[in-house]
Symmetry: none
Subunit: 225 residues, 2 copies
DNA sequence: TAGAACTCTAAGCATGCTCTCAGGAACATC
DNA sequence: GATGTTCCTGAGAGCATGCTTAGAGTTCTA
């Protein structure tokens, strides 16, 4: 973890906030606190934290609402939720809404820290995926090949982003169907082929190196080397 | 998540195990259960799961011990720990030891599932099988002998990968037929011979050590020593 | 509400992979 | 060396796989 990493703590229980904040600061984080939903949202937008610790129970807008709003704005900052002990529904709901982890109250400082470290460890990364001379900006959904800007539809983008997140890997039709489309098993369709063709037309221009490769019998791969 | 993903469940509480196992299987996982530390270790080594769900409280060797041993052997399979409610020490300890996540008992199935999905989503990495000077990258399906790159068809690759996963072992025709092809018994065919020949032509170049060996009357083996 | 844009299905077609078959080589046993 | 068994190999038929294209159905937009 880099020192100076910005952490936003959204927690209405002052006791907890006033205990956690100095602890995090002591460890080299830059911390901001917010005490209800709306101010949490505002802080998330202005402070631009690298990580958000978000209580579920909050005045005005609850944690789930805040998370939802942020994600709908395209904010992908990693989020750890704080939940009451047995609120399993909330937990599962949060994870599927795009929370990255949660901690059950009451918690110990060491545990929260371990989770913060773990989460930062796996989300410290660029927002821009690069594969060969292709750039995929996951924040703005902007795609460029060299200098050429590429316009993609929603589905095309989703497919390309997934492939760019797993460069060089063989991605089977079933995997793509389950990850990019929400298709179950056993469905007979050729959407994947069709969308690969669409992408090829836009990404692999004439005279350019073919990034999107077919591996007959296995699937497709986005080649970066 | 790919269907057929192997999950190992190490849990001595039969009630839990017998509830979780069929649930996971229903969702397309291939599941194996173990009921104490040593058999959990053994299963981890033989079954080669893609993910392990590991209870902390276990007979003979506890979960932390199992995790420690596995990590010390270089096994990096993602692990979800099951912990009693307030065992914070264990939790922190486990995370630092290399557990990837944990779930607090009692848990609901949906929660465990959400965590399994999340973990599988973020831990797909490269796995390279090495046999002598042969490299088989199971993520990219790239095959090299020394520096020479080898192009294989889907079936050829499937056969070679299987052999590379079991180096130095005699692999009977029937075994190969059942594992690489989906053939039942009693079918009279010589596909295996044919494909072994294809592989030889590509893998064992002229002047190179023969890795693919015939054991007359028994089957074939990929020699690595 | 019409038109545009997007998503997906379906059918036709080219390619080359997969597998069978049959003859010949290699090996074991006497 | 003769004989039977096991394995190798080359050729070719059939068919699965993947690419294209057209268009139907749906959603977005002006």
């Amino acid at each position: 973890m880099r020192p100076g990493t910005r952490v936003l703590l959204v927690e209405d229980d002052r006791l907890i906030a006033e205990f956690v904040e100095p602890e995090l600061e002591r460890l080299g984080f830059r911390v901001r606190c917010a005490y209800d939903g709306p101010s949490g949202l505002e802080a998330a937008r202005n402070f631009e934290p690298e990580l958000i610790v978000l209580d579920i129970m909050l005045p005005k807008i609850d944690g789930v609402g805040v998370l939802k709003e942020l994600r709908s704005e395209g904010v992908r900052t990693p989020v750890i939720m704080l939940t009451a002990r047995d609120a399993t529904i909330d937990k599962v709901h949060s994870l599927d809404l795009g929370a990255d982890d949660y901690v059950t109250k009451p918690f110990e400082m060491d545990e929260l820290l371990a989770r913060i470290r773990a989460l930062l460890r796996r989300t410290e990364g660029d927002e821009v995926l690069r594969v060969a001379d292709l750039e995929v900006n996951t924040s703005t959904h902007e795609v460029r090949r060299k200098e050429r800007k590429i316009d993609l539809t929603a589905r095309e983008y989703a497919l390309l982003e997934f492939m760019a997140r797993h460069p060089n890997r063989v991605l089977s039709r079933e995997l793509l169907l389950s990850q990019v489309w929400d298709r179950g098993f056993g469905v007979t369709t050729n959407v994947v082929e069709v969308y690969i063709a669409y992408l090829r037309k836009k990404v692999d221009g004439p005279g350019e190196q073919r990034l999107i490769q077919t591996l007959r019998g296995s699937g497709y791969a986005l080649k970066g080397a």
